[in-house]
Amino acid sequence: MTDYKNLKLIATSNPHIRSNETTRSIMLDVIIAMLPALAFAIFNFGLRALTLTAVSVVGCVFWEWLYRKLMKKPQSIGDLSSVVTGMLLAFVCPVQMPYWMIIIGDFFAIVVVKQLFGGIGKNFLNPALAGRAVLLASYAGTMTSWVDPAVNKAAIIGSNADIVTTATPLAIMKTGDFAELLSAHSVGSMFVGTGIPGSLGEVSALALLIGGVYLIWRKVINWQTPVAYIATVAVLTFLFPKQGSGLEWMLYSIFGGGLFLGAFFMATDYATSPVTKKGQLIFGIGCGLFTVLIRYFGSYNEGVCYSIMVMNLFVALIDKYTKPTRFGVVKSDKKEAAAK
């Protein structure tokens, strides 16, 4: 018979079991979800898409490791969140940008935006988008010149001098002739991303959609944010086309630029989006609204980055006003309380 006196029992609070999902497994799912887009980027822009992403990942992990080390805080690189940030930052940068430049972006994203505010879960801006915003403000030339994937693969490009750059679909939609864009790129290629110039990971709506559906299926993200975001942009651009027919304008608007990347991977960032599903719906609609406003009336061709960052600032407010109704309080009770 067992001698129960010698058992070393620990007495902790309930519950005594936990689900198998961890921060690390969630981040791993996000990484998996980004692989189709990465694969397409390599296909579209050449191997440099891979090396730039790899450099960015190494940069982010390094900065996080260094900061935690210097500040004598417990190491956190094992949660893989800095890997996600590194991939996302590379995804929103042009493929030909110098490696040193993205490492600066990594520094800003990881150290300034994330770690200085307390690390994972505490930042109020999306680190990758903030990193991109800083790079865009600092190196506007490089950050807005786009290689033409139809002409040359960036993999073989040694210096910036001999690349052929071209205008992104959104740039043409902003200042050029929409009919020209229609003849240059079909709706199908806009959706799949073949031959479309733009940021490394944003061009294939299809690949991003596959990743997004994977995340929803794995219950990593809720459908509310991406659906509300894309639907808002779709409705607004369908109703108010600047050129051409509403349907065509709408399709080019949602497939062009970083909308799918933003909707599935950026706006759903846990730390910088509301915690309730209702809040996420409002957040998505707000992102869509600002995206269209910036694209239509702002000086930038693309509005996804700034619209999400603007909405990030509203998260605390949205959380405050979308608290779940207290259990046991039904609508009629609320009305009575209001009447009193």
Binding site: L7, R18, S19, P74, F327
Partner: protein, 457 residues
């Protein structure tokens, strides 16, 4: 199938270890330790002293106020009346009876001549004298629930959800003693004057549902069985009411506020035995399971049986067992010793030796919001955690922390492994302390003012 309640989680039910094992009778233990508190309310006063001879079913503890009497579960001699460790933590005055293995039945146990001729008041009195409490673990005195609910309650629900992983006692009862459940449910229908009693069962117990339906058909009993989609904490009485009626119990209220009364499967059996045989609650079905148990079983044993006897009956525990739990894995209490006895609310004894806890060294909230989706009472655990860890009592009240029923769903689902439920227990205590301090301060102020006035006069 009834629609589920809001929120909740879906842990692996782990019931396969015991759900096909018939309830075994434990070999009588050499002594039993009967704590004087096995119910919600003040502890009982012991009625026996050292050296007294007691018989099975004899009343040995009398309650005052809210509570239920306590009976001897074996016959024998009272060896001691002293504080002993018990499953709710700490020590409790307990009556220790040395078993004489005679199983003499007390004269107090008298079966009514004609159970079906009893009036409602007589039946409630029998339930009260039998010491019946909520056997699902909440241990609320059943006679109080019945007498308080008569006239207000139109929906009587029998709780067969058994939503906690591992536990299979209620499931086995459905299979082996369906006539007791249906009989008890019929008496409950009579007491409340309703024409239908609903048994809510999660659909992972399909054979249990069939067994009960068969008895219902044979006896033409006023009972229906409703299958529920599996989800924890469906067996929480507010959640069960919501799943079955669609109505929500108001904050701080009881199911009777929305016309419901909920009784556990084994509480219903106890009501049946009390009314037909006059037998008080002296035995309990316990599921002994978990990774640390060598041979998991369902065991029926006298109340007060030391847990170590149950573990022995299951072949003992494995090396490296680090946790012993009285109750289910979601809401049970971790024990520091195997000397605690089985009480009226002890539905399971679990021993863990694997990595069930999955703790991490530096949990860090990632704001994923999964706790908000999981909370069955619509709270926002991630914010409450921040308030509680910073001692922000007003914010805790604003976040309705007192609505938290500590079901553990938020902690279970948390990918960052935050100790949410633990923090809310602390937070609730902060709120209670503050309320007590405020009350004391207000009274002191009032007293001072009265004194001042008196002086001024």
């Amino acid at each position: 199938m009834a629609q589920a309640f809001f929120g909740g989680v879906h842990p692996h039910d782990m019931k396969a270890a015991t759900n096909e094992k018939a309830i075994e009778q434990l070999a009588p233990p050499a002594e039993v330790v009967i704590p004087m508190s096995m119910h919600f309310g003040a502890p009982c006063t012991p009625l026996v002293k050292v050296g007294d001879h007691v018989k099975v079913g004899q009343k040995i503890g009398e309650f005052r106020g809210l509570g239920a009497p306590i009976h001897a579960s074996v016959s024998g001699t009272v060896k001691a009346v002293e504080p002993r460790p018990y499953s709710m933590g700490g020590n409790m005055t307990s009556v220790i009876i040395e078993n004489d293995f005679q199983d003499e039945l007390s004269e107090e146990v008298q079966a009514p001549a004609d159970p079906d001729a009893l009036t409602v008041d007589e039946m409630v009195e029998i339930v009260k004298n039998a010491g019946i409490v909520g056997m699902g673990g909440a241990t609320f005195p059943t006679h109080v629930k019945i007498s308080g609910g008569i006239g207000k309650v139109d929906t009587v629900i029998i709780n067969g959800a058994e939503c906690e992983p591992y536990i299979t006692g209620d499931h086995r009862t459905m299979l082996e003693r369906p006539e007791e459940i249906i009989g008890g449910a019929t008496y409950l229908a009579k007491m409340f004057g309703v024409d239908k009693v609903i048994i809510g069962v999660e659909d992972n117990k399909k054979n249990g549902i069939d067994a009960m339906n068969q008895v219902i058909a044979e006896k033409k009993a006023p009972v229906v069985v409703e299958a529920l989609r599996c989800r924890y904490p469906q067996g929480g009485e507010k959640q069960l009411c919501q799943a079955i009626t669609g109505k929500q119990v108001p904050p701080g209220g009881l199911p009777s506020n929305i016309g419901c009364a909920v009784f556990n499967i084994n509480t219903t059996c106890a009501i049946f035995r009390a009314i037909t045989e006059g037998m008080p609650v002296v035995r309990k079905i316990v599921t002994v399971s978990g990774s640390g148990i060598i041979e998991p079983k369902n065991i029926e044993c006298p109340i007060g049986t030391p847990v170590s006897c149950l573990l022995d009956a299951c072949g003992g525990v494995k090396d490296g067992t680090y946790k012993l739990i009285a109750g289910g894995p979601m809401m049970g209490m971790a024990q520091y010793t195997a000397d605690i006895p089985v009480a009226k609310g002890t539905g399971a004894i679990l021993a863990f030796c694997e990595n069930e806890e999955q703790t991490v060294e530096h949990p860090q909230c990632i704001r994923c919001g999964k706790c908000v989706s999981a909370c069955p009472v619509h709270l926002e655990p991630l914010f409450m955690y921040q308030y509680a860890s910073k001692g922000m009592v007003d914010e805790l009240n604003g976040a309705h922390i007192m609505d938290c029923m500590e079901c553990g769903a938020c902690s279970y689902v948390c990918p960052a492994r935050m100790h949410l439920t633990h923090m809310f227990k602390t937070g609730k205590q902060l709120v209670k302390n503050k309320a007590a301090a405020d009350k004391a301060a207000a009274e002191a102020k009032k007293a001072a003012e009265e004194k001042k006035e008196a002086v001024n006069k």
